[in-house]
Protein backbone atom coordinates (compact mmCIF):
# COMPACT_ATOMS: atom_id res chain seq x y z
CA UNK A 1 0.00 0.00 0.00
CA UNK A 2 2.93 2.30 0.68
CA UNK A 3 3.49 2.66 -3.07
CA UNK A 4 0.48 4.98 -3.18
CA UNK A 5 2.54 7.54 -1.29
CA UNK A 6 5.21 7.77 -4.01
CA UNK A 7 2.84 8.44 -6.84
CA UNK A 8 0.94 11.67 -6.86
CA UNK A 9 -0.02 14.84 -8.59
CA UNK A 10 2.16 17.91 -8.90
CA UNK A 11 0.17 19.49 -6.10
CA UNK A 12 0.95 16.54 -3.86
CA UNK A 13 4.68 16.78 -4.46
CA UNK A 14 4.74 20.54 -3.90
CA UNK A 15 3.04 19.98 -0.55
CA UNK A 16 5.45 17.17 0.41
CA UNK A 17 8.47 19.25 -0.61
CA UNK A 18 7.18 22.17 1.42
CA UNK A 19 6.87 19.94 4.48
CA UNK A 20 10.37 18.57 3.94
CA UNK A 21 11.75 22.12 3.91
CA UNK A 22 9.87 22.94 7.13
CA UNK A 23 11.26 19.78 8.74
CA UNK A 24 14.80 20.68 7.66
CA UNK A 25 14.45 24.18 9.14
CA UNK A 26 13.04 22.69 12.34
CA UNK A 27 15.84 20.16 12.65
CA UNK A 28 18.48 22.83 12.09
CA UNK A 29 16.85 25.07 14.69
CA UNK A 30 16.74 22.22 17.18
CA UNK A 31 20.44 21.51 16.63
CA UNK A 32 21.17 25.17 17.32
CA UNK A 33 19.16 24.94 20.52
CA UNK A 34 21.00 21.82 21.67
CA UNK A 35 24.45 23.18 20.91
CA UNK A 36 24.15 26.88 21.64
CA UNK A 37 21.89 26.33 24.63
CA UNK A 38 18.34 27.19 25.45
CA UNK A 39 19.60 30.29 27.26
CA UNK A 40 20.39 31.85 23.90
CA UNK A 41 17.91 30.14 21.61
CA UNK A 42 14.69 30.04 23.66
CA UNK A 43 12.63 32.25 25.90
CA UNK A 44 12.89 29.75 28.74
CA UNK A 45 14.39 30.65 32.09
CA UNK A 46 15.20 29.27 35.52
CA UNK A 47 11.62 30.08 36.54
CA UNK A 48 9.73 29.03 33.42
CA UNK A 49 11.49 25.85 32.45
CA UNK A 50 8.82 24.39 30.19
CA UNK A 51 7.22 26.37 27.39
CA UNK A 52 5.94 25.94 23.87
CA UNK A 53 7.22 22.38 23.35
CA UNK A 54 5.65 20.92 26.49
CA UNK A 55 2.44 22.67 25.47
CA UNK A 56 2.65 20.92 22.10
CA UNK A 57 3.09 17.60 23.86
CA UNK A 58 0.01 18.25 25.97
CA UNK A 59 -2.15 19.39 23.08
CA UNK A 60 -1.24 16.70 20.57
CA UNK A 61 -1.52 13.82 23.01
CA UNK A 62 -5.11 15.02 23.27
CA UNK A 63 -5.56 15.01 19.51
CA UNK A 64 -4.14 11.49 19.43
CA UNK A 65 -6.41 10.28 22.21
CA UNK A 66 -9.47 11.71 20.47
CA UNK A 67 -9.26 8.96 17.83
CA UNK A 68 -11.27 6.99 20.35
CA UNK A 69 -14.22 9.25 19.55
CA UNK A 70 -14.50 7.61 16.12
CA UNK A 71 -13.12 4.14 16.83
CA UNK A 72 -15.31 3.45 19.85
CA UNK A 73 -18.63 4.31 18.17
CA UNK A 74 -17.65 2.34 15.08
CA UNK A 75 -15.99 -0.78 16.47
CA UNK A 76 -17.68 -1.12 19.84
CA UNK A 77 -21.07 0.55 19.46
CA UNK A 78 -21.48 -0.52 15.85
CA UNK A 79 -22.22 3.01 14.60
CA UNK A 80 -21.96 2.35 10.85
CA UNK A 81 -21.79 6.00 9.76
CA UNK A 82 -18.22 6.12 11.08
CA UNK A 83 -17.18 3.27 8.76
CA UNK A 84 -15.32 5.60 6.44
CA UNK A 85 -13.94 7.95 9.06
CA UNK A 86 -12.66 5.45 11.67
CA UNK A 87 -9.47 4.86 9.75
CA UNK A 88 -8.95 8.62 9.45
CA UNK A 89 -9.14 8.87 13.23
CA UNK A 90 -6.58 6.12 13.69
CA UNK A 91 -4.29 7.61 11.08
CA UNK A 92 -4.61 11.04 12.68
CA UNK A 93 -3.55 9.54 16.01
CA UNK A 94 -0.26 8.32 14.51
CA UNK A 95 1.14 11.74 13.49
CA UNK A 96 -0.36 13.36 16.61
CA UNK A 97 1.60 10.95 18.83
CA UNK A 98 4.69 11.61 16.72
CA UNK A 99 4.37 15.38 17.21
CA UNK A 100 3.94 14.82 20.96
CA UNK A 101 6.98 12.61 21.23
CA UNK A 102 9.15 14.91 19.10
CA UNK A 103 8.04 17.92 21.15
CA UNK A 104 8.97 16.32 24.45
CA UNK A 105 12.21 15.09 22.92
CA UNK A 106 12.98 18.66 21.84
CA UNK A 107 13.04 19.91 25.44
CA UNK A 108 15.77 17.51 26.53
CA UNK A 109 18.98 19.27 27.45
CA UNK A 110 20.91 16.06 26.73
CA UNK A 111 18.91 14.32 23.98
CA UNK A 112 21.58 11.67 23.37
CA UNK A 113 20.92 10.35 26.86
CA UNK A 114 17.22 9.70 26.21
CA UNK A 115 17.79 5.96 26.49
CA UNK A 116 18.56 6.44 30.17
CA UNK A 117 14.79 6.50 30.64
CA UNK A 118 14.64 2.85 29.53
CA UNK A 119 18.02 1.91 30.96
CA UNK A 120 16.91 2.95 34.45
CA UNK A 121 13.17 2.28 34.39
CA UNK A 122 11.56 4.38 37.11
CA UNK A 123 7.93 3.47 37.83
CA UNK A 124 7.47 6.38 40.25
CA UNK A 125 8.13 8.90 37.47
CA UNK A 126 5.16 9.91 35.32
CA UNK A 127 7.42 10.81 32.38
CA UNK A 128 8.59 7.19 32.31
CA UNK A 129 4.96 6.04 32.00
CA UNK A 130 4.24 8.71 29.42
CA UNK A 131 7.02 7.35 27.23
CA UNK A 132 5.60 3.83 27.55
CA UNK A 133 1.94 4.68 26.90
CA UNK A 134 2.73 6.95 23.94
CA UNK A 135 4.90 4.34 22.23
CA UNK A 136 2.38 1.56 22.78
CA UNK A 137 -0.43 3.76 21.47
CA UNK A 138 1.59 4.66 18.39
CA UNK A 139 2.23 1.01 17.60
CA UNK A 140 -1.38 0.01 18.28
CA UNK A 141 -2.74 2.61 15.88
CA UNK A 142 -0.30 1.72 13.12
CA UNK A 143 -1.16 -1.99 13.45
CA UNK A 144 -4.92 -1.43 13.60
CA UNK A 145 -5.14 1.17 10.84
CA UNK A 146 -2.80 -0.67 8.49
CA UNK A 147 -4.47 -4.07 8.93
CA UNK A 148 -8.02 -2.79 8.54
CA UNK A 149 -7.10 -0.77 5.46
CA UNK A 150 -5.17 -3.69 3.96
CA UNK A 151 -8.24 -5.92 4.34
CA UNK A 152 -10.42 -3.25 2.80
CA UNK A 153 -8.13 -3.05 -0.22
CA UNK A 154 -8.50 -6.77 -0.79
CA UNK A 155 -12.25 -6.43 -0.31
CA UNK A 156 -12.25 -8.80 2.68
CA UNK A 157 -13.42 -8.14 6.26
CA UNK A 158 -10.61 -7.36 8.74
CA UNK A 159 -8.97 -10.50 10.21
CA UNK A 160 -10.36 -11.64 13.55
CA UNK A 161 -7.00 -11.29 15.36
CA UNK A 162 -7.08 -7.51 14.97
CA UNK A 163 -10.17 -7.11 17.13
CA UNK A 164 -8.36 -7.38 20.51
CA UNK A 165 -5.83 -4.80 19.32
CA UNK A 166 -8.63 -2.44 18.30
CA UNK A 167 -10.29 -2.81 21.69
CA UNK A 168 -6.96 -2.32 23.46
CA UNK A 169 -6.36 0.87 21.44
CA UNK A 170 -9.80 2.14 22.48
CA UNK A 171 -9.00 1.54 26.16
CA UNK A 172 -5.49 2.90 25.71
CA UNK A 173 -6.56 6.24 24.21
CA UNK A 174 -7.90 7.91 27.38
CA UNK A 175 -4.96 6.41 29.26
CA UNK A 176 -2.37 8.35 27.28
CA UNK A 177 -4.08 11.60 28.06
CA UNK A 178 -4.61 10.80 31.71
CA UNK A 179 -0.92 10.03 32.10
CA UNK A 180 -0.11 13.35 30.40
CA UNK A 181 -2.40 15.12 32.87
CA UNK A 182 -0.71 13.32 35.75
CA UNK A 183 2.62 14.86 34.70
CA UNK A 184 1.12 18.14 35.89
CA UNK A 185 -1.55 17.20 38.40
CA UNK A 186 0.67 15.63 41.05
CA UNK A 187 3.22 18.35 41.73
CA UNK A 188 3.19 19.90 45.21
CA UNK A 189 3.20 23.68 45.15
CA UNK A 190 1.92 24.06 41.56
CA UNK A 191 -1.63 24.95 42.50
CA UNK A 192 -2.71 25.85 38.98
CA UNK A 193 -1.90 22.36 37.74
CA UNK A 194 -2.66 20.43 40.88
CA UNK A 195 -6.35 19.76 40.55
CA UNK A 196 -8.00 16.36 40.43
CA UNK A 197 -10.09 17.78 37.59
CA UNK A 198 -7.01 17.95 35.39
CA UNK A 199 -7.25 14.54 33.68
CA UNK A 200 -10.97 14.95 33.04
CA UNK A 201 -10.43 18.47 31.75
CA UNK A 202 -7.67 17.25 29.43
CA UNK A 203 -10.01 14.60 28.02
CA UNK A 204 -12.76 17.18 27.48
CA UNK A 205 -10.45 19.52 25.56
CA UNK A 206 -9.06 16.55 23.62
CA UNK A 207 -12.50 15.38 22.54
CA UNK A 208 -13.33 18.90 21.39
CA UNK A 209 -10.08 19.70 19.56
CA UNK A 210 -9.49 16.25 18.01
CA UNK A 211 -12.90 15.81 16.33
CA UNK A 212 -12.72 19.45 15.19
CA UNK A 213 -9.43 18.73 13.45
CA UNK A 214 -10.98 15.61 11.96
CA UNK A 215 -13.88 17.68 10.60
CA UNK A 216 -11.42 20.05 8.93
CA UNK A 217 -9.42 17.13 7.51
CA UNK A 218 -12.59 15.45 6.24
CA UNK A 219 -13.65 18.62 4.45
CA UNK A 220 -10.17 18.92 2.89
CA UNK A 221 -10.12 15.25 1.83
CA UNK A 222 -13.52 15.68 0.25
CA UNK A 223 -12.23 18.68 -1.69
CA UNK A 224 -8.97 17.23 -2.95
CA UNK A 225 -10.16 13.70 -3.74
CA UNK A 226 -13.16 11.67 -4.79
CA UNK A 227 -13.38 10.06 -1.36
CA UNK A 228 -16.18 11.43 0.83
CA UNK A 229 -16.16 10.55 4.54
CA UNK A 230 -19.89 11.30 4.62
CA UNK A 231 -21.96 14.26 5.79
CA UNK A 232 -23.67 12.30 8.56
CA UNK A 233 -20.30 11.29 10.00
CA UNK A 234 -19.08 14.89 9.90
CA UNK A 235 -22.26 16.08 11.63
CA UNK A 236 -21.84 13.46 14.36
CA UNK A 237 -18.25 14.64 14.88
CA UNK A 238 -19.56 18.19 15.24
CA UNK A 239 -22.02 17.03 17.90
CA UNK A 240 -19.23 15.25 19.80
CA UNK A 241 -17.05 18.36 19.59
CA UNK A 242 -19.74 20.69 20.89
CA UNK A 243 -20.55 18.42 23.84
CA UNK A 244 -16.88 18.18 24.80
CA UNK A 245 -16.43 21.92 24.31
CA UNK A 246 -19.37 22.53 26.64
CA UNK A 247 -17.77 20.33 29.30
CA UNK A 248 -14.47 22.23 28.83
CA UNK A 249 -16.19 25.61 29.35
CA UNK A 250 -18.01 24.19 32.37
CA UNK A 251 -14.72 22.97 33.86
CA UNK A 252 -13.15 26.42 33.43
CA UNK A 253 -16.07 27.77 35.43
CA UNK A 254 -15.45 25.20 38.16
CA UNK A 255 -11.80 26.23 38.40
CA UNK A 256 -12.82 29.86 38.77
CA UNK A 257 -15.31 29.05 41.51
CA UNK A 258 -12.83 27.05 43.58
CA UNK A 259 -10.10 29.66 43.24
CA UNK A 260 -12.12 32.81 43.76
CA UNK A 261 -14.64 31.65 46.32
CA UNK A 262 -11.90 30.16 48.52
CA UNK A 263 -9.73 33.24 47.85
CA UNK A 264 -6.59 31.13 48.33
CA UNK A 265 -3.86 33.21 46.68
CA UNK A 266 -2.00 30.27 45.13
CA UNK A 267 -5.14 29.13 43.37
CA UNK A 268 -6.07 32.60 42.15
CA UNK A 269 -2.67 33.80 40.96
CA UNK A 270 -2.30 31.82 37.76
CA UNK A 271 -5.90 32.49 36.71
CA UNK A 272 -5.42 36.19 37.42
CA UNK A 273 -2.21 36.15 35.42
CA UNK A 274 -4.00 34.50 32.50
CA UNK A 275 -7.20 36.56 32.38
CA UNK A 276 -6.48 39.99 33.88
CA UNK A 277 -2.76 40.09 34.51
CA UNK A 278 -0.82 39.92 37.76
CA UNK A 279 1.26 42.74 39.22
CA UNK A 280 1.28 44.53 35.89
CA UNK A 281 2.23 41.43 33.92
CA UNK A 282 -0.37 40.91 31.20
CA UNK A 283 1.66 38.95 28.63
CA UNK A 284 -0.86 36.14 28.12
CA UNK A 285 -4.08 38.10 28.68
CA UNK A 286 -4.80 38.87 25.00
CA UNK A 287 -4.18 35.24 24.10
CA UNK A 288 -6.49 33.89 26.79
CA UNK A 289 -9.30 36.21 25.81
CA UNK A 290 -8.84 35.23 22.17
CA UNK A 291 -9.13 31.63 23.27
CA UNK A 292 -12.25 32.36 25.34
CA UNK A 293 -13.99 34.30 22.58
CA UNK A 294 -13.17 31.62 20.00
CA UNK A 295 -14.54 28.94 22.33
CA UNK A 296 -17.76 30.84 22.99
CA UNK A 297 -18.30 31.62 19.31
CA UNK A 298 -17.58 28.04 18.28
CA UNK A 299 -19.95 26.74 20.92
CA UNK A 300 -22.80 28.83 19.52
CA UNK A 301 -22.00 27.93 15.89
CA UNK A 302 -21.88 24.23 16.70
CA UNK A 303 -24.87 24.16 19.02
CA UNK A 304 -27.25 25.93 16.62
CA UNK A 305 -28.37 23.31 14.05
CA UNK A 306 -28.49 25.76 11.14
CA UNK A 307 -24.87 26.86 11.50
CA UNK A 308 -23.70 23.35 12.30
CA UNK A 309 -25.25 21.97 9.13
CA UNK A 310 -23.87 24.73 6.94
CA UNK A 311 -20.42 23.48 6.03
CA UNK A 312 -18.90 26.94 5.78
CA UNK A 313 -19.85 27.91 9.33
CA UNK A 314 -19.04 24.38 10.47
CA UNK A 315 -15.51 24.71 9.11
CA UNK A 316 -15.12 28.10 10.80
CA UNK A 317 -16.38 26.67 14.10
CA UNK A 318 -14.06 23.67 13.89
CA UNK A 319 -11.09 25.96 13.25
CA UNK A 320 -12.17 28.14 16.18
CA UNK A 321 -12.33 25.14 18.53
CA UNK A 322 -8.94 23.91 17.37
CA UNK A 323 -7.19 27.25 17.88
CA UNK A 324 -9.03 28.09 21.08
CA UNK A 325 -7.86 24.90 22.71
CA UNK A 326 -4.43 25.13 21.15
CA UNK A 327 -3.91 28.55 22.75
CA UNK A 328 -5.29 27.43 26.10
CA UNK A 329 -3.84 23.97 26.52
CA UNK A 330 -1.06 23.98 23.95
CA UNK A 331 0.54 27.11 25.35
CA UNK A 332 -0.96 29.11 28.22
CA UNK A 333 -1.72 26.18 30.52
CA UNK A 334 1.91 25.08 30.78
CA UNK A 335 3.43 28.55 31.05
CA UNK A 336 0.99 29.86 33.67
CA UNK A 337 1.76 26.92 35.95
CA UNK A 338 5.18 28.51 36.51
CA UNK A 339 3.82 31.99 37.19
CA UNK A 340 4.32 33.29 39.79
CA UNK A 341 7.32 31.24 40.85
CA UNK A 342 7.80 29.78 44.34
CA UNK A 343 9.15 33.09 45.59
CA UNK A 344 6.10 34.90 44.30
CA UNK A 345 8.10 36.60 41.63
CA UNK A 346 7.00 36.82 38.04
CA UNK A 347 9.26 35.86 35.18
CA UNK A 348 7.40 36.14 31.90
CA UNK A 349 7.93 33.77 29.00
CA UNK A 350 7.51 34.23 25.31
CA UNK A 351 8.92 31.69 22.84
CA UNK A 352 11.93 32.78 20.84
CA UNK A 353 11.75 32.58 17.04
CA UNK A 354 13.95 29.50 17.16
CA UNK A 355 11.39 27.69 19.33
CA UNK A 356 8.66 28.40 16.78
CA UNK A 357 10.89 26.89 14.09
CA UNK A 358 11.49 23.77 16.18
CA UNK A 359 7.75 23.45 16.83
CA UNK A 360 7.09 23.95 13.11
CA UNK A 361 9.55 21.14 12.40
CA UNK A 362 7.60 18.83 14.72
CA UNK A 363 4.34 19.84 13.02
CA UNK A 364 6.06 19.26 9.68
CA UNK A 365 6.92 15.67 10.55
CA UNK A 366 3.36 15.17 11.78
CA UNK A 367 1.77 16.60 8.65
CA UNK A 368 4.12 14.63 6.40
CA UNK A 369 3.15 11.36 8.07
CA UNK A 370 -0.50 12.44 8.02
CA UNK A 371 -0.28 13.27 4.32
CA UNK A 372 1.31 9.93 3.49
CA UNK A 373 -1.19 7.91 5.53
CA UNK A 374 -4.21 9.83 4.21
CA UNK A 375 -2.86 9.55 0.66
CA UNK A 376 -2.85 5.78 1.08
CA UNK A 377 -6.35 5.78 2.56
CA UNK A 378 -7.62 7.95 -0.28
CA UNK A 379 -6.09 5.83 -3.00
CA UNK A 380 -7.54 2.64 -1.50
CA UNK A 381 -10.93 4.28 -1.15
CA UNK A 382 -10.87 5.83 -4.64
CA UNK A 383 -10.11 2.48 -6.22
CA UNK A 384 -12.99 0.90 -4.33
CA UNK A 385 -15.25 3.78 -5.44
CA UNK A 386 -14.21 3.01 -9.02
CA UNK A 387 -14.85 -0.65 -8.41
CA UNK A 388 -18.40 0.04 -7.35
CA UNK A 389 -19.18 1.87 -10.56
Amino acid sequence: MLEAAITGSRRYWIWVSFLLVVIAIGFNSWMREVHLGSGLMTGLSRDVTWGLHVGQLTFFVGVAASAVMVTMPYYLLNYKEFGKIAIMGEFLAVPAVLISMLSVFAIMGQPTRIWNVLLYPTPHSIIFWDLIVLNVYLILNIICGWTVLGAERKGTPPPAWIKPFIILAIIWAPLIHMVTAFIFAGLPGREHWMTSLQAAHFLATAFAAGPSLLIILSLIVRKVSRFDPGSTAIQTLARIAVCALGVHIFFIGLEFFTAFYSRIPGHMHSLQYLYVGLEGHTELVPLMWTSSILAAAAFVLLAVPATRKNEKTLAAAALAVFFSIWIDKGFCFVVSGFIPNHFERITAYWPALNEFFVAAGCWGVGFLVLTILYKIVISVRESSVQGEH
Partner: protein, 262 residues
Protein backbone atom coordinates in the same frame (compact mmCIF):
# COMPACT_ATOMS: atom_id res chain seq x y z
CA UNK B 1 1.22 0.57 73.05
CA UNK B 2 3.97 1.25 70.57
CA UNK B 3 2.62 -1.49 68.33
CA UNK B 4 -0.84 -0.04 68.35
CA UNK B 5 0.36 3.42 67.63
CA UNK B 6 2.51 2.11 64.83
CA UNK B 7 -0.33 0.22 63.25
CA UNK B 8 -2.60 3.19 63.59
CA UNK B 9 -0.13 5.46 61.89
CA UNK B 10 0.43 2.99 59.09
CA UNK B 11 -3.27 2.64 58.53
CA UNK B 12 -3.95 6.31 58.67
CA UNK B 13 -1.19 6.88 56.16
CA UNK B 14 0.23 9.60 58.34
CA UNK B 15 3.67 8.75 57.18
CA UNK B 16 5.03 12.23 57.69
CA UNK B 17 3.97 12.30 61.33
CA UNK B 18 5.27 8.80 61.85
CA UNK B 19 8.88 9.78 61.22
CA UNK B 20 8.74 12.22 64.11
CA UNK B 21 6.34 10.23 66.27
CA UNK B 22 8.44 7.12 65.96
CA UNK B 23 11.65 8.73 67.08
CA UNK B 24 9.99 10.65 69.91
CA UNK B 25 8.45 7.44 71.08
CA UNK B 26 11.58 5.37 71.19
CA UNK B 27 14.26 7.87 72.01
CA UNK B 28 17.35 8.58 70.01
CA UNK B 29 19.54 5.54 70.68
CA UNK B 30 20.51 3.10 67.95
CA UNK B 31 17.91 0.52 68.82
CA UNK B 32 15.24 3.16 68.94
CA UNK B 33 16.05 4.30 65.44
CA UNK B 34 15.56 0.84 64.06
CA UNK B 35 12.20 0.77 65.74
CA UNK B 36 11.36 4.13 64.24
CA UNK B 37 12.40 2.95 60.80
CA UNK B 38 9.98 0.07 61.05
CA UNK B 39 7.24 2.37 62.24
CA UNK B 40 7.54 4.58 59.21
CA UNK B 41 9.06 2.85 56.23
CA UNK B 42 11.34 5.18 54.34
CA UNK B 43 10.83 8.11 56.65
CA UNK B 44 13.96 7.60 58.67
CA UNK B 45 16.97 7.10 56.47
CA UNK B 46 18.61 3.67 56.32
CA UNK B 47 21.58 5.04 58.22
CA UNK B 48 19.28 6.37 60.96
CA UNK B 49 20.63 9.87 60.33
CA UNK B 50 18.69 12.89 59.37
CA UNK B 51 21.12 15.48 58.13
CA UNK B 52 19.66 18.91 58.57
CA UNK B 53 20.54 22.57 58.75
CA UNK B 54 19.49 25.33 61.09
CA UNK B 55 19.93 28.91 59.92
CA UNK B 56 20.06 31.30 62.85
CA UNK B 57 19.01 34.68 61.47
CA UNK B 58 20.11 36.54 64.58
CA UNK B 59 23.71 35.67 63.82
CA UNK B 60 23.70 37.07 60.30
CA UNK B 61 24.77 40.64 60.84
CA UNK B 62 25.93 42.18 57.61
CA UNK B 63 25.91 41.97 53.83
CA UNK B 64 29.49 40.73 53.94
CA UNK B 65 28.48 37.76 56.15
CA UNK B 66 25.98 36.80 53.49
CA UNK B 67 28.34 37.26 50.59
CA UNK B 68 31.04 35.24 52.30
CA UNK B 69 28.68 32.30 52.64
CA UNK B 70 27.31 32.26 49.08
CA UNK B 71 30.77 32.84 47.65
CA UNK B 72 32.21 29.97 49.68
CA UNK B 73 29.65 27.60 48.21
CA UNK B 74 29.62 28.84 44.64
CA UNK B 75 33.39 29.06 44.44
CA UNK B 76 34.25 25.56 45.57
CA UNK B 77 31.44 24.04 43.47
CA UNK B 78 32.37 25.87 40.28
CA UNK B 79 28.92 27.42 40.03
CA UNK B 80 28.85 29.50 36.85
CA UNK B 81 27.80 33.12 37.03
CA UNK B 82 25.61 34.65 34.31
CA UNK B 83 24.44 38.27 34.30
CA UNK B 84 20.95 37.53 33.08
CA UNK B 85 18.79 36.34 36.01
CA UNK B 86 16.85 34.15 33.56
CA UNK B 87 19.91 31.95 33.10
CA UNK B 88 21.08 32.01 36.70
CA UNK B 89 22.61 29.00 38.42
CA UNK B 90 22.45 29.22 42.19
CA UNK B 91 22.90 26.69 44.96
CA UNK B 92 22.45 29.01 47.92
CA UNK B 93 21.22 32.58 47.78
CA UNK B 94 19.11 35.03 49.75
CA UNK B 95 15.52 36.16 49.49
CA UNK B 96 13.69 38.64 51.68
CA UNK B 97 11.20 37.21 54.16
CA UNK B 98 8.15 37.89 52.00
CA UNK B 99 9.69 35.95 49.11
CA UNK B 100 11.22 33.14 51.14
CA UNK B 101 8.02 32.68 53.17
CA UNK B 102 5.26 34.12 50.96
CA UNK B 103 2.54 32.44 53.01
CA UNK B 104 3.78 34.11 56.20
CA UNK B 105 4.02 37.73 55.12
CA UNK B 106 1.70 40.37 56.46
CA UNK B 107 1.74 44.13 56.35
CA UNK B 108 2.63 44.63 60.03
CA UNK B 109 6.00 42.90 59.81
CA UNK B 110 8.72 44.93 61.58
CA UNK B 111 10.54 47.25 59.18
CA UNK B 112 14.02 45.86 59.77
CA UNK B 113 12.70 42.39 59.27
CA UNK B 114 11.44 42.94 55.74
CA UNK B 115 14.89 43.47 54.32
CA UNK B 116 16.57 40.62 56.19
CA UNK B 117 18.31 38.24 53.80
CA UNK B 118 17.04 34.71 54.31
CA UNK B 119 19.23 32.00 52.87
CA UNK B 120 17.40 29.60 50.61
CA UNK B 121 18.81 26.35 49.26
CA UNK B 122 17.82 22.76 48.62
CA UNK B 123 15.86 21.49 51.63
CA UNK B 124 17.00 17.87 51.27
CA UNK B 125 13.43 16.82 51.94
CA UNK B 126 12.32 13.61 53.57
CA UNK B 127 9.77 13.20 50.73
CA UNK B 128 11.56 14.87 47.84
CA UNK B 129 9.21 15.35 44.90
CA UNK B 130 12.23 15.95 42.63
CA UNK B 131 13.34 12.36 43.32
CA UNK B 132 9.82 11.06 42.80
CA UNK B 133 9.41 12.61 39.33
CA UNK B 134 12.91 12.12 37.90
CA UNK B 135 12.58 9.61 35.04
CA UNK B 136 16.17 8.40 35.21
CA UNK B 137 16.89 8.33 38.96
CA UNK B 138 19.37 11.11 38.36
CA UNK B 139 17.96 12.73 41.51
CA UNK B 140 18.22 10.34 44.40
CA UNK B 141 18.29 10.24 48.16
CA UNK B 142 21.38 8.90 49.85
CA UNK B 143 21.31 6.61 52.88
CA UNK B 144 22.03 9.62 55.09
CA UNK B 145 19.10 11.55 53.65
CA UNK B 146 21.02 13.95 51.42
CA UNK B 147 19.31 14.49 48.06
CA UNK B 148 21.89 14.47 45.29
CA UNK B 149 21.95 14.22 41.51
CA UNK B 150 24.16 12.60 38.94
CA UNK B 151 24.92 15.18 36.25
CA UNK B 152 26.19 12.43 33.94
CA UNK B 153 22.86 10.68 33.86
CA UNK B 154 20.57 13.74 33.68
CA UNK B 155 18.68 14.00 30.37
CA UNK B 156 17.71 17.61 31.02
CA UNK B 157 13.94 17.16 31.04
CA UNK B 158 13.56 19.70 33.89
CA UNK B 159 10.73 17.73 35.49
CA UNK B 160 12.48 18.05 38.89
CA UNK B 161 12.36 21.83 38.55
CA UNK B 162 8.62 21.73 37.93
CA UNK B 163 8.22 19.44 40.94
CA UNK B 164 10.41 21.19 43.53
CA UNK B 165 8.22 23.60 45.53
CA UNK B 166 11.26 25.47 46.81
CA UNK B 167 12.72 26.61 43.48
CA UNK B 168 16.00 25.08 44.58
CA UNK B 169 17.09 23.52 41.30
CA UNK B 170 18.92 25.32 38.50
CA UNK B 171 19.27 24.27 34.88
CA UNK B 172 22.26 24.95 32.66
CA UNK B 173 20.55 26.87 29.87
CA UNK B 174 24.03 28.01 28.79
CA UNK B 175 27.31 26.17 28.69
CA UNK B 176 28.53 26.67 32.28
CA UNK B 177 32.16 26.23 31.25
CA UNK B 178 31.86 29.42 29.19
CA UNK B 179 30.87 31.48 32.23
CA UNK B 180 33.32 34.29 32.84
CA UNK B 181 33.99 33.38 36.46
CA UNK B 182 34.92 29.83 35.45
CA UNK B 183 37.33 31.20 32.86
CA UNK B 184 39.14 32.90 35.70
CA UNK B 185 39.05 30.22 38.36
CA UNK B 186 38.05 26.56 38.50
CA UNK B 187 38.34 24.46 41.64
CA UNK B 188 40.20 21.40 40.36
CA UNK B 189 38.79 19.35 43.23
CA UNK B 190 35.21 19.56 41.98
CA UNK B 191 33.77 18.74 38.55
CA UNK B 192 32.30 21.42 36.28
CA UNK B 193 29.01 20.54 34.62
CA UNK B 194 27.85 20.27 31.01
CA UNK B 195 25.18 22.29 29.29
CA UNK B 196 21.61 20.94 29.50
CA UNK B 197 21.69 19.33 32.95
CA UNK B 198 20.28 20.43 36.29
CA UNK B 199 22.22 21.12 39.47
CA UNK B 200 21.63 22.16 43.06
CA UNK B 201 23.03 22.17 46.58
CA UNK B 202 24.33 18.78 47.69
CA UNK B 203 24.93 19.58 51.38
CA UNK B 204 28.59 19.33 50.28
CA UNK B 205 28.65 15.53 50.16
CA UNK B 206 32.25 15.72 48.95
CA UNK B 207 33.18 17.52 52.18
CA UNK B 208 31.00 15.31 54.40
CA UNK B 209 32.96 12.33 53.06
CA UNK B 210 36.12 13.92 54.50
CA UNK B 211 34.42 14.64 57.82
CA UNK B 212 34.09 18.36 57.05
CA UNK B 213 31.04 20.59 57.46
CA UNK B 214 29.29 22.03 54.41
CA UNK B 215 31.15 25.05 53.07
CA UNK B 216 28.33 27.47 53.91
CA UNK B 217 28.20 26.31 57.53
CA UNK B 218 31.97 26.62 57.83
CA UNK B 219 31.96 30.15 56.41
CA UNK B 220 28.96 31.26 58.48
CA UNK B 221 30.59 31.98 61.83
CA UNK B 222 28.02 29.86 63.61
CA UNK B 223 24.96 31.22 61.80
CA UNK B 224 24.45 27.96 59.89
CA UNK B 225 24.42 24.87 62.06
CA UNK B 226 24.65 21.51 60.33
CA UNK B 227 24.37 17.99 61.69
CA UNK B 228 22.27 14.95 62.43
CA UNK B 229 18.88 16.14 63.70
CA UNK B 230 18.08 12.60 64.86
CA UNK B 231 20.97 12.70 67.35
CA UNK B 232 19.70 14.60 70.42
CA UNK B 233 23.21 15.07 71.74
CA UNK B 234 24.40 16.86 68.59
CA UNK B 235 24.57 20.64 68.42
CA UNK B 236 21.71 20.78 65.93
CA UNK B 237 19.67 18.26 67.93
CA UNK B 238 19.98 20.42 71.06
CA UNK B 239 19.19 23.58 69.12
CA UNK B 240 16.06 22.12 67.54
CA UNK B 241 14.90 20.85 70.93
CA UNK B 242 15.41 24.20 72.64
CA UNK B 243 14.56 26.86 70.07
CA UNK B 244 11.45 27.53 68.01
CA UNK B 245 12.16 27.02 64.33
CA UNK B 246 10.15 27.37 61.13
CA UNK B 247 10.48 25.75 57.73
CA UNK B 248 9.43 26.81 54.24
CA UNK B 249 6.05 25.50 53.10
CA UNK B 250 5.76 22.63 55.59
CA UNK B 251 2.11 22.08 54.60
CA UNK B 252 3.18 20.40 51.35
CA UNK B 253 4.44 17.30 53.15
CA UNK B 254 7.90 17.37 51.61
CA UNK B 255 9.37 17.48 55.14
CA UNK B 256 12.13 19.97 54.39
CA UNK B 257 15.30 19.69 56.47
CA UNK B 258 16.35 23.33 56.53
CA UNK B 259 15.10 25.11 59.67
CA UNK B 260 15.10 28.81 60.41
CA UNK B 261 15.47 30.58 63.77
CA UNK B 262 13.89 33.96 63.10
Amino acid sequence: MSMRRRDFLKLAGFTALAGIGGSVLTGGNGKGRLEAAQAAPGKVTPSGKRLAMVIDMSRLKSESDVKKITDACHRIHNVPYFDNPKNEIKWIWTETFEHAFPGQKHKFLPEGFKSKPFFVLCNHCENPSCVRVCPTQTMFKRADGVVVHDPHRCIGCKYCMAACPYGAISYNLNDPRHAKNLQDYVNPGFPTRAIGVVEKCTFCVERLAKGLKPACAEASNGAIIFGDANDPSSEIGKLLASRFTIRRRPELGEEPNVYYII
